[in-house]
Symmetry: C2
Subunit: 213 residues, 2 copies
């Protein structure tokens, strides 16, 4: 265990803000980006099912095509890196089985020992929800990943900006996700540490207090 | 800026796992918990609207009453701290106006200068979505907070466990959220650093790789 002091955590979370302009020159270093990708992969999800696919869009021409379907937001093309948070459009029993098969390999347990776990997942996710409910559940998980991504980036001093204002169906088409049963839910643009002038532009906070019971 | 090295981030994200058993004796220290609460408050949200309420349930009797509506999961009562992630059940124009009024105070800008921003929020969140869509949007934001919370806790070496398997409507009733127009979406239990034996119980990872385009 190699924890950080509380003031370092809060310092970086206060430093973070949703960067609106990205300088195409400020590339994230390979080690930093590799770590951020790895942090995404380590995101927890309900049942551990990870009903998502994180797509890093690197092709410059592809990214330019995403600008008009992102209400013209240039971050999509100008940021150093762009991650599309996509989900499985319709989770099926075979997804659950593929997940369980992976567990048997990684943890070295028998498929039979996971029978109860399978039943619980099928009951909660497939029988207990309609297609829309399953998509909402999967989208929620993708947003855990987004939260983890934004905090991880802040701790590394990487600027990031989540973008909800996108035409998700057009993203699916342009990146070719639809044909694979995937659906875009949200996007994040990221760039290397911001320039000094932008630091001054970061707005003050207005977080609402918690409530105790 | 006071960033951390990439290996420290990954070390703590690898250390994190969804703790299943909590020892009621392992209380989180006041400075650690205060920092975790503050990290929650700093969670980014779409438009900065923060359509959530984080409720820290401290009353022991209240927490015991939550166990049976959490499929008997003892974490709800045994963990050092319990946070309920609730959302506004039906976001209204007055919520947007209250948010804008707060901005005028915190940032010292005029209400008039925020007119375009208001229009954008009303268009996207109220006119562009039905009640269910607004709830899904708000729930997504709460899950950003959950992701941020879990990562922040991991960095401080605090054990945490998200719980989706709860009867949300019963939570609303028991904690008294429904009457305030709030709705529970998810819960997280947290406790001080885990005992050495539990470290051995943390399962190996099976994260799926990212895809590049």
């Amino acid at each position: 265990m190699n924890t950080i002091p509380t003031d370092q955590l809060l310092n970086q979370l206060n430093w973070r803000y949703a960067t609106k302009q990205f300088d195409p020159q400020r590339k994230i270093s390979l080690p930093d980006w590799t770590a951020l990708e790895e942090s995404l992969v380590l995101t927890p999800s309900s049942f551990g099912l990870q009903p998502w696919k994180f797509v890093v869009v690197k092709d410059a021409a592809l990214r330019e095509r995403l600008v008009p379907v992102s209400w013209g937001q240039r971050q999509v093309a100008d940021a150093s890196h762009l991650v599309v948070f996509a989900i499985k459009r319709d989770l099926k029993e075979q997804d659950i089985d593929a997940f369980l098969n992976r567990i048997t390999v990684v943890r070295g347990v028998s498929r039979e020992s996971l029978g109860g776990y399978r039943e619980m997942m099928v009951g909660s996710l497939l029988q207990g929800r309609d297609a829309g409910g399953r998509r909402n559940w999967a989208a929620n998980q993708a947003y855990i990943a987004l939260g983890n991504f934004l905090t991880s980036a802040a701790l590394l001093g990487i600027d990031a900006c989540p973008l909800e204002g996108i035409e998700a169906a057009k993203y699916d088409e342009i990146i070719g996700l639809g044909a694979q049963g995937l659906a875009t839910v949200v996007v994040a643009a990221a760039a290397a540490k911001r320039a000094p002038l932008e630091v001054l532009a970061a707005p003050p906070r207005e977080g609402a207090p918690l409530r105790s019971e």
